[in-house]
Symmetry: C2
Subunit: 174 residues, 2 copies
């Protein structure tokens, strides 16, 4: 089980970025996303509506206490992996990470408290350049699952896309 | 040379998503990003300021005529690759794409005109699930460069991050 923890969501400023984080988490094989910062029912509704149509069992929940959440996961034998530009390059760490099945992946907001660097079992960087938590999460999951996530099927999907050379082909069921 | 074309930017709604697209393009080895939709000097300034500090030669420019831009690239022998959930799965196409050195990667806004599906030499999907153009771009470049982009060095960088287990280590020069 992979769970993502998105830190410091701001409903006014981050709605689309946090939505992208949740959809990437789901599409690339995570089972849930927790988020700290502001509670945002619109974010939750848009993700839950998408899950209803596109299938699978992805969950999204708000957490008020991010540090306690991380400690609870560690107590439940999850390895904690924090994505940060300052961490170890992903290609040096990914083999070790694959030994573990239960992982909490933390992705940052603006300022990440230093306590989180210390609580993390792995601080991992995806390049040493500033870019995007959305991209960092996708690359980590892609490397972790070694591309198998690209073929993942989602149970009870009402909408399915059929790959095509140059057309939009969508299968819908009730 | 890889150039990204981001379609239909909306300054009010998309500033952070388009910034993430540009930063991912740069960090994962593209040389430039063009964008259509609204002109946005703040977006351009934030990307150019980042390039000044973090190095390399990445460029960002607005284009008023997206279809003409695509045709011009085709005229200059670029292969056009359009990222869309409806396209061919990336793992089936990536080997073919690697034969080409000059590529225009198109990433969508809300509604992509059907002409673009036809102009594209490759319509490529990164999973058949809805997620994020930021993630799709990162995965495509990561697959195209086969992970080598993760070790890319940026010339004349004033800021460099030194990877670390649990600290922020940054080297700054003037």
């Amino acid at each position: 089980m992979i769970t993502v923890l998105r830190l410091g969501h701001r409903a006014g400023r981050d709605p689309r970025i946090s939505t992208h984080c949740a959809l990437v988490a789901r599409a690339f094989g995570a089972g849930a996303m927790l988020y700290s910062g502001e509670h945002d029912s619109d974010l939750e509704k848009s993700v839950r509506d998408l899950v209803k149509n596109w299938g699978g069992a992805f969950e999204i929940e708000h957490t008020k206490k991010q540090i306690k959440t991380i400690k609870d996961f560690k107590g439940k034998n999850f390895k904690v992996c924090h994505l940060t530009v300052y961490g170890h390059p992903v290609h040096n760490v990914i083999k070790k990470l694959r030994y573990f099945k239960n992982i909490l992946i933390i992705i940052g907001g603006e300022k990440v408290p230093s306590e989180i660097y210390k609580l993390a079992d792995f601080n991992i960087s995806i390049t040493q350049q500033p870019h995007s938590e959305v991209a960092a999460l996708a690359i980590l999951l892609h490397e972790y699952f070694q591309g198998k996530e690209l073929k993942k099927e989602f149970a009870e999907a009402k909408i399915k896309v059929i790959p095509s050379k140059n057309k939009k082909i969508v299968k819908k069921s009730k």
